[in-house]
Point group: none
Chain length 233, copies 2
């Protein structure tokens, strides 16, 4: 369960926010004092922080600025209408989003969810986060290790899958056979790069319509292989 810190001196607003967030499965704490809020944020116990701009002791800008030095979690600024100029300043100080009161609770929740999703997407172990990789008809389901082309499922062996997944995880990047060998087989592996070529061939046989004219895994002569996400008409 995600934990949210609300730094807001108006208790009515703060509780409204908390209630809505709780209804949506979050756990939210309220702090009414700016300096205290910054301290709590820095404990690292929260997944996201919502900060009001006008606060006793330490205003929202300062909190954002200070917190950002040590936190990369989403920081959302909230302020009363009319302080719009500060919007830009808030963003420049390191806030991730800006909401103007009054806002609908639904919007708050949606934004919070969106920020959490993005944060996990970008932080999450490089690829495990996204479950399905898609490149123009090619689908790789990382959870089930299933691969399909235009809806038709294709059986991959372990090495084939690994190699394909690696290429698909780095679309548009060229990798030499040596690079692929050390990436998939391990740095210390003794072996010929021909192995890579053979596996590429086997993958192509399975996923390409015309393996001698590959659509997905391109060969760059003298350079390596590349899985391109470009459609080619």
């Amino acid at each position: 369960m995600k934990r949210i810190l609300i730094i807001e001196d108006d208790l009515n607003i703060a509780e409204l926010e908390r209630d809505y967030l709780q209804l949506n499965g979050f756990k939210a704490d309220i702090v009414q004092d700016g300096a205290q809020g910054l301290q709590r944020a820095l404990t690292g116990k929260y997944d996201i922080v919502i900060v009001d701009l006008m606060l006793p002791n330490k205003d929202g800008y300062e909190i954002i600025k200070e917190a950002r030095k040590n936190l990369d979690i989403p920081l959302v600024v909230v302020s009363a209408r009319g302080e719009d100029i500060s919007k830009i300043r808030g963003l420049e100080y390191g806030a991730d989003d800006y909401l103007t009161k009054p806002f609908s609770p639904g919007e708050l929740v949606a934004r919070i969810k969106s920020h959490i999703k993005r944060y996990e997407r970008l932080k999450g172990n490089s690829r495990g986060a996204s479950e399905v990789l898609t490149h123009a008809g090619l689908e790789i389901h990382t959870a089930s290790h299933q691969v399909s082309v235009n809806g038709r499922e294709v059986q991959m062996t372990a090495k084939e899958y690994e190699l394909l997944l690696f290429l698909a995880s780095h679309p548009n990047m060229v990798f030499s056979k040596e690079h692929l060998l050390s990436a998939i087989w391990g740095d210390d592996y003794f072996g010929d790069t021909a192995t890579v070529a053979v596996h590429i061939q086997k993958i192509r046989k399975k996923i390409e319509k015309d393996p001698s004219n590959p659509e997905f895994i391109e060969t760059l002569w003298g350079t390596g292989y590349r899985l391109t996400s470009n459609y080619r008409g």
Copy 2:
């Protein structure tokens, strides 16, 4: 320099956005068609994408949804006032931000900057360093080894690519054929400098409109070759 893709059918708005972004040091491309926009976004050549909601062929929601499968860069939705309900939907589909027209150009730029900052912060700043070299219409994508001229992709062989990359990495500098030979072919290479000349020809054939009157790779008689980043009337 960060590259931004603007998917927006209203050319007035698109150009306004582009101009402001360019004034702020970004490079921005415009696509007016939804389906085409998605394709361009998926090439992986952009650091951020701005999408209008109402588009011909493929609307903003679909673009966001599809693009998000393969991209973790910031996706910003833009829409006319009154479509506010969709705000939440856009965010749920994977957008990173939402702007309602009309917005001030300053705000657009501030948000874009903020998104880029966050992205780099969360990605660990690993990417984005010198991924794309640009010289007046000529683009070299070092990750994918793709070269394009005015948006059209051009196929390069390994040696051609190496040579072009070398020249483009040192714009405005003249290199003798001897220098290029030892830089690309190696210090100990036995071979004629004619080889360099021939490769220059081959590159010119691919990237120059009129290879006998080259715009990119100039010949300096008795001295060598130079890739100039200046336009020449």
